[in-house]
Structures are given as C-alpha cells and as structure tokens.
C-alpha cells in the first residue's frame, strides 16, 4: 500500500511511502478514492517515507489537486526528501502545491 489514509482534524491525512513508480501509481489509483471523495477538505500528503516519484506519481498528485480545486479543498504536501524536491523544482510542480 502506497497511500495509507485516515481522517484527521476534519481533513484527510495520507502517509505516502515507498516508490511511486508507474506500476505503483496504477495500483494507487484505487487507493486514493477516499481522498477524491473528500476533496472538499484539506488533504495532507505526508511524504516522509516516499523514496521516489515518477511522472505517473506526479500525475496522481495532480489528480488529487484537480479534484480538490474543483471541490474547494486543498492539497498540502509535507516532508518530501531532497531528491523529490529536486523533481518538484525541475518540473515547476513546486508552484502547483502547498509544500511544507
């Protein structure tokens, strides 16, 4: 399981762990359903244990962001490692998310 999701403080809190490569992203599409269903709330993606993210993983994050934008919620990404920071910076994704 890549996304471990729970409700917390009126919002949704997901611990994202492991390698979010293409096969994992395909599998995780089902896992993020509770986040999409609650996209009117604040969704926090805790990436402390996320080791790697591919383009498919970025698309998955974008899917959540798009749903949150449509429903009036927001996505906050926490604790990304330096390698993933590098990816977010190079792709301009830093401008798309609130990153803490």
């Amino acid at each position: 399981m890549i996304f471990d999701i729970k409700e917390q403080n009126g919002g949704m809190y997901a611990t994202v762990s492991g390698r979010l490569d293409t096969p994992a992203a395909v599998k995780a599409q089902q896992e993020i359903t509770p986040l999409l269903e609650n996209a009117d709330k604040v969704i926090t993606l805790d990436c402390t244990s996320l080791e790697y993210i591919s383009s498919s993983g970025l698309r998955l994050f974008l899917t959540i962001r798009k749903e949150a934008a449509a429903k009036g919620g927001k996505v906050v990404i926490e604790h990304i490692n330096d390698e993933i920071k590098k990816v977010f910076m190079m792709t301009g994704f830093f401008n798309l998310f609130e990153i803490r």
């Binding site: 383009s55 401008n95 990153i99």
Partner: protein, 364 residues
Amino acid sequence: MNPYGLNPHCEMLLEEYREQLPMYDSLKKVVMEKLQLLIEQSGVETNSVEARIKKEESLVGKLERKGGKYTSLSDITDIFGARIITFYNEDVDRIASIAESLFDIDWANSVDKRKMHEFSSFGYNSLHYICRLPKSLYYDPQYPKLNEIRFELQMRTALQHVWSAIQHDIGYKSEIETPIEYHRGLSRLAGMLELADNEFSRIRNSISDYRRRAQSLVKSGNIEEVPLDGDTFRSYLGLHPFDKLNRKIAAITQAELHEANLMPYQGVLRQMGMKTLGDVERMMSQNFDDAYQLALFQLGSTDIDILAESVGIQNLCIVHILKSGGGRLGIKLMFDYINGKMPQNAVMADIVMEQAQRLSFMNR
C-alpha cells in the same frame, strides 16, 4: 380592543395591515428574488441589499402622526421597503435601471433626492422609487391584489447611507428643530461625502481607462512602454509569451505541459528590477538559450514527461538572477517569493546552484 388608542379610521387601517401581512411577505420574497437575480447578472457590486416589512409599532407611529391622510392601506407606500446600497454613484443609476426594467414605477411619487438640493446646499442624497410588481413578471391567484401594492425602493451609495444613518441616529430632523450649527455641521459632512463619492467614481473610471489602454497596447503587441503591474501582466500572459520556451523544454522528454498560475512571477520580475513588459521581453530574449540549457541539464537524464507551465519562466528568472550576480541568496529569495518563506527554499537554491554550474556563463 384598541391597545394603541387610535381613532376608528386608523384602527381600520391597522386591521387591514394585519390581514394583508402574508401578502406583503409574499411580495417581499418575489421582489427580492427578481431584484437580486438581475443585480447579480449585471455584475454590479453592492454593499448591501436589504428588505423589511414595516413593524406594527412603526405603522402605529405613522398613523398617529398622519393617519388622516391615508384613505386605505394601499396609500402607504413603504409598508414593504427595500434598500440597495452601492459603492459608486453610477451604480445607483444602474440599479435604478434594473428596477425600471422589472417593476412599474409610480413616477409621480418617486423622488430623486440627489437632484433636490439647491446648488449651495447639501444633505440627504438617495433615489427613491415607488414601484408595483407587474403581472407580467409574477402573478399569484392566491393574492390577486399583490400586483396593486406599492412598495418603496431606496437606492444610494455607501457614503450617502452612512450620512443618512448617522443623521437618523442622532435624531436630526430639520433646521427648525435643530440649532443651526448642527445643521451646518451635517450639511458640511454631506458636501464632503458627495465630493468623496465623486472622487471614488473618478478614480474607478481612471483605473478602468488605464486597464483598457494597457490591455489594448498588450494585445496589439505594442508592449515596450507598458508598465509591469498585475493587470498588464495578466493581459500579457494572455499572449502566452513563455509558450515557445515551455514547448522547447517539454520537447526534451516529450513531456506534456500542465497549466500553472504564473501571476506570482509578476512580483519576482518586479523584484528583479523590471518596470515594463518591454523589460520582460528583453530579459526573455537575452536568457532564452541559457534557460533552455538549464532545463536540458535538469531533465536530459530523466524520463519525466510531465511539466508545469511555470518551468520556462522559472528558469528564465533563475538565469537572470545568476547573470546579475544574485547567486544562491537571489535564487532562495525567488523561491521565498513564489512558495512563501520555508526551509525547503534554501535546499532548492542549493540544487539550482549545483545544476547551474554547468552553464557556460557561470564559468566565465
């Protein structure tokens, strides 16, 4: 039973009022729905839209004072009243035009207090329409007389409303009842607020003119002297000035481009000393190749095939900052501006500095 001690005629009017209250409630609901819908569609910003049915105690007071002049309840035109407060003078006229398009206006009893003052006097300014709801707009067989009821619509600016509300609050009536110095003080304030209303309108019109001129210059491609501000930058982004660079960068990994908000970069460009859109264009042409080169170093060895549209302008700004000697601190400040201050910005500045070392101008 006559708890108010009214004469029989006024008591009859009061009884009529009690019987007709449900019809007035229905009228209020319909009028406000129609009015609010058209105001919303017109795009006029209002300070407030409020409505009320006159309270029984208030009607009793009115009947005590001048009940004899009313033959029936329908002669009293403010049992139901609505008030629309706008921010600008011109919007009072726009609301009036909306009211005219919706309701039958009793012109003989409507009054434009704004035009009633002598050239040397100042006071209550408001537009009052006495209206009826036409059957063509709404008809309820349960209340066939609803369309005959007259109601009052007051329209004024927020400043006119403030004056009126304070005047009412301090119990001012007329110069006959109030010492002349208070009358003069209130007149002076009315004059000042009238001046302020006109000035707000003038400023709004000037800003609109400025925006139209700037947008027209941007659209015609004549941007050299157009000042860089939020409005002009938004219009400029409508020309998709960074698309060419974005597409070239995206081609590195055949990436798709995802829409991003580039407006925060207006502040970054200002911080970088750009004053006009011409400055931005020059900065882009001077740094285009290096911004692309930086992207090539960043993405060339990856298989990332999704990028945000901010990637082009981000790299242009990075290159400009480095060429201007801004170094790591300049890059960090850029990220501070875009992302808000946070520790990650320093880490990202370090990553950028590492990647940028391979750019040719860094080794000169």
